[in-house]
């Protein structure tokens, strides 16, 4: 290994998503007016800036404030929201695990149902995205990046993962890039480090490890969002801007969405939450059952998969807010606890945190003040605390607690929190996913005899495959009728319309800390919920094997098992249509 080199800039940003987009969009025009503008640089792990895994329906309050004359037609795949529905989906398969309360709800809903779905006659105001936009986050990021680059004042570098913050004493003095081709990653020293590497990013997590977290901080609530971008059949009458939120299927705990973009394209996806107790819960299989639900299938049949992806969503919201600033650093975006867990909205909030930091940085530049903790508190943190973002975040703080006690209790809790502006909520003790997920024997207790579970488990180990398909088949989930167009195998989905490719020169970013522990582990949830089947059983029955060529960097393994080390790595899913 050669000696580590270093480079000095003024501001270094980690990760390019909506938050960094908001930050750079705010400062770039002002930098252009300066005689000697500061050097501003941004590193992004993915191999393009149009990455991202999210079909977005957003109120776009912050985004519209930044772009007062916004014409959605200028952003590929964007459309104004023109129709919004909340649908309760019944279970046409009989395989969904439904509590007695949900079964009672099903009976009520059955009468007025159409294609096993009922439109909820009103949408709670907190869920509404009035005057909002349907976006593809990949295309939105790409659109923002094009404009930023043309200013010539900021530099954006994709394909360059950041390994860790550089910390000296109590100050962050920059970042260290990931090692590549056996050479040590370069140190990028900066007066200000903007941390926007999302909820599973290594820089944010290492800051938490070093500086600790605020009292009451917890990040136990997560979800895997998994989605398809689908080319709808030619005769599909759905208009761009159609937005459907769904609950009830494939499992009551799994929420879904269906957004229509211009060009006869839809984003269709589900959220599998950490409070869902099934230990074998591949989001991909559930997503396939979701798109085949009769109500959705009437529009999707004959469609074609254009791309697919998955990501972790940090759903602790305000409870997951770390120290927002310190000497030499500030945190923005989803990793800063900006997501509103009541409205299920994160993109606009992330953008807004970036704008707030941008305004603060400009203020400090005008004052020639350093980026100390105190200065960042009186500018950025103050702006954040005084904004709509913070006010709404307080309302939402405990809105999801009820889900810890079940789906129906959770729905009641969300309604109460919304109606009382967060004053009344349902209590629920949040636990880390690995403490909460039930053993197979318990989750499938009334559906599969214990000896059969053991037999299936043994057979899967012998076959070197994970359990989820066999168990889902066993409890009655119908086989997926692969058509090679929309319904394709998990492995084929990795190859269709996206780019799952471990970037050359970087090491494995998922490691198993204690192999002995893996050997003893029966639950192996890391394999059972891996979004890309990148974690698979090993031949010798020891620690699982990791194939970074398949990893989509969703990060779900990180929050489902303490024994996983999730570090900086290149590559991952890259489809600009996501």
């Amino acid at each position: 290994m050669s000696e580590r080199s270093a480079m000095d800039v003024d501001i270094v940003c980690v990760g390019f998503g909506p938050a960094t987009g908001g930050f750079l969009h705010t400062i770039a025009p002002k930098l252009a007016e300066m005689e000697t503008p500061p050097a501003v640089i941004c590193y992004e792990r993915a191999e393009g800036l149009g990455f991202g895994v999210s079909g977005v329906a957003t109120r776009a309050l912050g985004i519209r404030t930044s772009f007062p004359e916004l014409d959605p037609s200028q952003i590929p795949m964007a459309a104004p929201i023109h129709e919004e529905k909340l649908l309760y989906l019944l279970d046409p398969t009989g395989a969904s695990r439904r509590s007695p309360g949900v079964r009672a709800l099903d009976l009520l809903a059955k009468l007025p149902s159409d294609n096993h779905a009922v439109e909820v006659p009103w949408i709670p105001s907190f869920l509404h995205k009035k005057n909002g936009l349907v976006l593809s986050i990949g295309q939105f990021n790409q659109w923002v990046s094009e404009q930023l680059m043309m200013t010539g004042t900021v530099q954006l570098w994709p394909g360059m993962p950041v390994a860790e913050p550089l910390i000296e004493g109590e100050a962050v003095v920059g970042v260290r890039l990931a090692d590549q081709n056996g050479e040590p990653g370069m140190d990028i020293r900066a007066a200000l480090t903007v941390v926007a590497d999302g909820p599973v990013g290594p820089v944010g997590r290492k800051l938490d490890d070093y500086f600790g977290v605020p009292p009451g901080f917890e990040r136990n609530d997560w979800a895997v969002g998994s989605k398809m971008v689908v080319e709808l059949p030619d005769n599909c009458p759905l208009e761009p801007g159609t937005v459907w939120h769904t609950v009830g299927f494939p499992e009551p705990e799994i929420f879904g969405f269906f957004y229509v973009h211009p060009g006869n394209v839809a984003s269709v996806g589900i959220f599998v939450p950490s409070w869902f107790d099934n230990p074998v819960r591949t989001s991909y299989r559930y997503l396939q059952h979701y798109v085949m639900h009769p109500f959705l299938w009437q529009w999707l049949e004959g469609g074609r998969l254009r791309s697919w992806g998955a990501k972790s969503l940090q759903e602790s919201g305000r409870h997951g807010e770390p120290w927002l600033v310190g000497d030499g650093f500030a945190r923005i975006g989803e990793g800063s606890g900006a997501t509103n867990v009541l409205t299920g909205s994160g993109v606009d909030e992330a953008w807004t945190t970036g704008v707030q930091l941008g305004e603060s940085v400009l203020e400090l530049m005008r004052e020639h003040a350093p980026y100390t903790s105190e200065n960042l508190k009186r500018t950025y943190v103050r702006r954040r605390r005084e904004s709509w973002l913070d006010a709404e975040s307080r309302v939402a703080a405990n809105a999801r607690n009820g889900f810890q006690r079940g789906f129906l209790t959770g729905m009641v809790g969300m309604g109460l929190a919304a109606m009382t502006r967060g004053r009344v909520t349902v209590h629920g003790h949040s636990r880390p996913s690995q403490d909460r997920v039930q053993p197979m024997e318990k989750y499938f207790a009334r559906r599969i005899p214990l000896p059969e579970i053991s037999r299936i488990e043994k057979q899967c180990r012998t076959d070197g495959i994970s359990l989820h398909d066999r168990l889902m088949d066993r409890v009655g989930w119908p086989p997926i009728p692969f058509d090679g167009e929309l319904l394709v195998s998990h492995q084929d989905a990795l190859l269709m319309g996206g780019k799952v490719q471990g970037a050359a020169g970087f090491g494995d970013h998922v490691r198993f800390a204690d192999h002995d522990l893996c050997e003893l582990c029966r639950r192996r949830i890391c394999m059972e919920m891996c979004s890309g089947e990148a974690i698979a059983p090993s031949k010798d029955g020891g620690a699982p094997v990791f194939d970074r060529e398949k990893c989509v960097h969703c990060g779900a393994c990180l929050w489902t098992c303490d024994n996983i080390q999730f570090e900086a790595g290149g590559g991952g899913l890259h489809s600009a249509e996501n």
Partner: protein, 269 residues
């Protein structure tokens, strides 16, 4: 080892081949569906040429390297964010349609014009590099025509290796049939080298190279001249190669079994 070169690499961009590509009939002839939405990459063949050029320029202190690219400006800008981290280069951007449905004659004319206009380019020391073929089409005609327009008569295609001898002559390995190479020697530049895969890996990202390149790349993009490139012909039909995807994960299968299955499949087709 005193010979220095002015190396010009002609490199187009193409939609990332790993994305779903679908030909459609556009207003001006065939096009790829949603082409402007798709992420683009430097044409992989041109990429080999660029990395070989960078290696040569580094080995020959005093040499210079230009990348001349004809592509939609916005897409080229995205590609440069990745490419410009890897090798020190000077970009000459020409704003125009890229892809597989433009006429090589028009493209060659635009590229040759851009090269002729490079300030300070010493054409007696010129090595014109490019891809032997392209991921967007495989006519292999563009680079030859650029060379002809620039009056370069020494042309080599399917190049896998270039060695500069002590006397400044160029020893070139070109691919020929049967996995063999043809060895040619020419006395020196100017010459055209259409690269096959070369021998060099993709260089690692370098933040310093990126910073240094980007200072000139944005102005280059801003002053990119528009070029008119046409289809030049009428396409009777356009289709993707027939493909059948059938994925199975099979572990530890003997090589003989795999080979037998492939042969059976070919026979059945």
């Amino acid at each position: 080892m005193s010979e220095t070169f002015h190396i010009v690499v002609c490199g187009g961009i193409v939609p990332d081949p790993l994305q779903t590509l679908e030909p459609v009939a556009g207003a001006n002839g065939p096009a790829l569906k949603n082409e402007m939405l798709l992420p683009h990459v430097l044409d992989p063949w041109a990429g080999h040429a660029l990395y070989e050029a960078a290696h040569l320029a580094k080995a020959r202190a005093g040499s210079k390297l230009w990348l001349v690219s004809l592509a939609p400006k916005a897409k080229l800008q995205q590609v440069m964010m990745t490419v410009a981290q890897r090798v020190p280069l000077e970009l000459v951007a020409v704003d125009g349609a890229s892809g597989g449905f433009t006429d090589s004659f028009d493209v060659a004319a635009a590229l040759a014009g851009a090269i002729e206009a490079i300030p300070g380019l010493d054409r007696t020391r010129l090595l014109l590099f490019g891809g032997w073929e392209s991921a967007s089409r495989a006519a292999g005609a563009t680079l030859q025509m650029v060379g002809e327009r620039l009056g370069i008569t020494e042309q080599f295609q399917g190049v896998d290796e270039l060695t500069v001898s002590d006397d400044g002559s160029l020893r070139i390995l070109e691919r020929v049939e049967g996995g063999q190479h043809q060895v040619s020697v020419c006395s020196g530049p100017p010459a055209v080298l259409g690269w096959a895969t070369g021998n060099l890996p993709e260089p690692a990202n370098s933040p310093q190279i990126g910073m240094q390149n980007m200072r000139a790349i944005m102005p280059a993009l801003q002053k990119a001249k528009a070029a008119q490139v046409t289809a030049g012909c009428t396409f009777a039909s356009v289709a993707l190669p027939k493909q059948q995807r059938e994925t199975r994960v099979v572990k530890d299968a003997p090589v003989e079994d795999i080979a037998r299955e492939i042969v059976d499949w070919i026979i059945a087709e």
